[in-house]
Amino acid sequence: MGFEDTALQSRILTLMTLSFHIIYATVGVGVPLMIMIAQWVGIRKKDEHYILLARRWARGFVITVAVGVVTGTAIGLQLSLLWPNFMQMAGNVIALPLFMEVFAFFFEAIFLGIYLYTWDRFEDQRKHFLLLIPVAVGAAASSVFITIVNSFMNAPQGFEVLNGELVNISPLLAMFSPAVPTKVAHVLATAFMTSAFVLASIAAYRLMRGSNHIYHKKALFLTMKLGLVFSIATAIIGDFSGKYLAEYQPEKLAAAEWHFETEAEADLILFGVLDGEEAKYAIRIPYALSILAHGVPNAEVIGLNEFPEDEIPPLWIHYLFDTMVTLGMWLAFFSFVYVVGAWRGWSIITKTWFRWLTVMTGPLAMLAIQAGWWFTEVGRQPWILRGYMKTSEGATTSGNVDLMIVLFAGLYLILGIGTVVVLSRMYKRNPVEDELAQRESNKGGEEQ
């Protein structure tokens, strides 16, 4: 072990690439739907503000997509470069959704190009709106296919191993593993939720920085409503995910919950520190783990004692799990307060401290995404393909992985900084007030 261990190095590089990519991927899946909704509302209400909202989001979106293409290509290739032994095996069973993902992205990329370069080209706005549907469908489908591959890693099926050979392979059965429904739903709902909150953060930030334009208020109210809807959806799906884990990956749930002994009427442990097998300073919610796992308070929940020691995930995933759940709950609660406040005209929601909390929703949602993916990936350890292949067996034997870590760290740093600089510069140079005024005067010109 140590840093010379290429398996560990490969894990670090993969972790880095995925953690960076998931930011762009989440935005890439969620924002097209937000643009669609804004443009649709604009067309229906004949409200220029919402149309412009869609347009300005689209401009920023294309930048994140371009960076996402770069990081997505990186992870696509790194799968084979860093995990050749795994890909050789997985290629036989789960190549189909990977292949389909390329088509879905292909489809999205084509229509995104068309959508972006055809603003105002059509007399009828609805025609332009139609071009957005394949973008949103393609984006969502990409994430569905990739999540299907990840589901397979967690709950492999659709093949048998006979004397070290893969036999009876069924690509479709492998695609529809038991992990698929909850995982796919969770990924989609959280992508929509996070994108809504990221856009809400931007609107709230503009409102804090002096601009009191109704445009930002409309943007904020719309995105907070969407954030609320999708955070509630996320919470409900999260509950089903718990039941999935209890059934198919009980060791992951048990490690996340520091649930050492199989028992009924199990408590849910929140936070705390581990002392041996004792959770100290933790909040214990009676029966909650049994309810999360099986829906009834007296259900038996499998504990870590049922697994060999070398097949138990690291126990620190408890904190990742808690981070994800706490942030999710907070975002649902906060957006609920905001939406009710906006309806009822509470003055609290325009207070500076409240605005700051609103600005924080986007970053917090993104943090929850990171915690969630780290949880599910670290929680699958020591397996790369649960029950069949350990992560260390899947890794490359090639040297120089450490050098590549440095190289890609530099790349991601530059891309990250570049994204922030370019996006903020783009919007600062062309504030919405100017653009609205300009569109107004253009219109005046046409009438004459």
Binding site: R55, A58, R59, V62, I63, A66, V67, V69, V70, T73, A74, G76, L77, S80, L81, P84, M87, Q88, M89, A90, G91, N92, A95, L96, L98, F99, V102, F103, F105, F106, F107, A109, I110, F111, G113, I114, Y115, L116, Y117, T118, W119, R121, I169, P171, L172, T396, T397, S398, N400, L403, M404, F408, L411, L415, G418, T419, V421, V422, M426, R429
Partner: protein
Amino acid sequence: MTLEIIGISVLWLFLFLYVIVASIDFGAGFFNAYSAFSDKQHVLTGVVQRYLSPVWEVTNVFFVFFFVGIIGFFPQTAFYYGTTLLVPASIALILLAIRGSYYAFATYGAKINHRGYIYMYGLSGLLLPAALSPVLAISEGGFIRLEGGQPSLDYWALFMSPLMWSIVVLSIAAVLYISAVFLTWYAAKAGDAKATTLLRKYALIWAGPTIVTATGIIFELRGHNPEHYANLLDLWWMFALSFLLFLGTVYLVWKRRNYGMAFILLVGQFFTAFFAYGASHYPYLLYPHLTIYDSFTNESMAIALIIAFIAGLGLLLPSLYLLFRLFLFDKDYVKGKSDYHA
């Protein structure tokens, strides 16, 4: 026709399409940087940005399609090529990132047109073929050793190999040649006489090196891989046809006639040469370790992939047609008369 042949033909076709569209993209970036360097920027920038910006993501997908597809149809390639190509493929990824970020940051975004960035973008267009094409040399065998059952790449042997360097030179020359011929046509369509003249000159300059290095590689193979060389000679008529098509392109460009037909002949030239090369490589994916038969996936996966491929094409071809109609064949857009960017 066996499933193996269908699989490799589909992948080879997509690799061919990538070679063509990526060459246009890489070369255009280089010409753009070169003209910025020699202060002729205004001549090319418009042409380059109008054509490249909407389609580069599509270009990139051809590449992704190839490497995802080859793992799907021939999973064992992950073991041989995945293990050994870590460093060159990572370098290629970094270079692709430079190009992608240029589109993201300089053309879509805040229009950072810093010269350094334009040069980096242009240079990456030359370095990328140099980073990717050695894989073709590696596939000829002699550079991958098996140590304790694990493949590893002999960098020194590769670095000292004249075959590898010839392939690199060919890939760069071909990128510039393909790109110049295409852009000559595009500029002519756009009615930009200045850009047409300049690009036509580039096309004629790079025609010679392309054909000379391509011929050179065939002879170098005689020493490096006699078996492959013999197979190549069996297909001499395809290379002869390719050469005739090459002459046709040069003739049309020289006479300033029908640039569209010149580009179609060029695609034909590369198509015949690329498939003749591919066919003579059969059945090896990697001499002498890997053939398309012993690396092939199971039958049910192969059939599933082919069905997915056909369904995918049904979706993609009309979409691609729409894309090209809007950005390649729409006169107003090509001429820069209409700008509807968000």
